[in-house]
């Protein structure tokens, strides 16, 4: 005698709920993602307790050994590129009413004198306000 259950059809796994969740995640990441241009080199920002948020439209990178980077360009080419980017930005928007801001990502080990040397060059390009990026942390 055969008491086993009659051969049932294996229930097909319903994939739709998983697809729904995955699409939800995808849309979340699409909306919340802020695509940033590639960094020319790795920079560790100094630590500070400030709460102000960086608002600059342009980001200039300064490595610990004093190299200057903007997008993929280094050195003098980076300065020219950021100047060109500013001119391009000002052709679209009114820069006299609201001068564009510049964000400086300087490495924490960069000598401060080097930063002071770069600042007048950057200011000469016509940026209204310059800000220095810091990461949240305790000040030693």
């Amino acid at each position: 005698m055969d008491f086993s259950d009659p051969a049932r059809k294996k229930p097909e796994e319903n994939l739709l709920p998983m697809i729904n969740v995955v699409f939800l995640l995808l849309i979340f990441f699409l909306i919340s993602a802020r695509m940033t241009p590639p960094e020319p080199f790795a920079v560790t920002p100094p630590e500070a307790r400030t709460e102000a948020e960086a608002q600059g439209e342009f980001t200039l990178f300064l490595a610990a050994d004093g190299r200057i980077g903007y997008r993929e360009m280094l050195g003098e080419a980076a300065m020219q590129a950021i100047g060109a980017a500013r001119a391009d930005h000002c052709a679209r928007l009114d820069c006299t009413a609201e001068p564009p801001r510049l964000t400086l990502r300087a490495d924490l080990a960069l000598p401060a004198a080097d930063l002071a040397r770069v600042l007048p060059q950057v200011a000469g390009l016509g940026f209204g306000q310059i800000e220095l990026v810091a990461q949240t942390g305790a000040v030693p």
Binding site: A33, E53, A109, A116, E131, V139
Partner: protein, 125 residues
């Protein structure tokens, strides 16, 4: 009547390739996006407009420590020492970076001064 083939039973479309692509996109966006906003400290450049008035307020950053107008000072005492030298918090304070001071030391001083309410910090060579 022409018949080009037999009627096949309707098949459900295979969802697996689509799920693969969606997962790929998901992983791409998870890895490529940067979350959180950067914190930043405003910094001024010498000669960028604005006038200087009042007694000298020059902070030297050296490898040994801080100096206010030439006299060594503890970082904690800086804000109190600057208060009699300024009329308003918007008065310019000059920061001069010497040898041996790195950006972290500079940012520590700027952070301290910004916290005390001073808004115009000027970095000079």
């Amino acid at each position: 009547m022409m018949r080009f083939g037999t009627d096949r039973p309707r098949r459900r479309p295979n969802l697996t390739p689509m799920i693969d692509v969606v997962f790929l996109l998901l992983v791409f966006f998870m890895l490529a996006s940067r979350f959180g906003v950067d914190r930043a400290l405003p910094i001024s450049v010498a000669g960028s407009g604005g006038s200087y008035s009042g007694p000298p307020r020059l902070i030297d950053l050296t490898a040994e420590g801080l100096r206010l107008n030439g006299t060594p000072i503890a970082p904690e005492a800086l804000a109190e020492a600057l208060r009699p030298l300024t009329e308003t918090p918007a008065d310019a304070i000059i920061l001069r970076a010497g040898t041996g001071a790195d950006v972290q030391a500079l940012v520590a001083v700027m952070d301290r001064l910004t916290e005390s309410g001073f808004t115009r910090l000027v970095l000079v060579e």
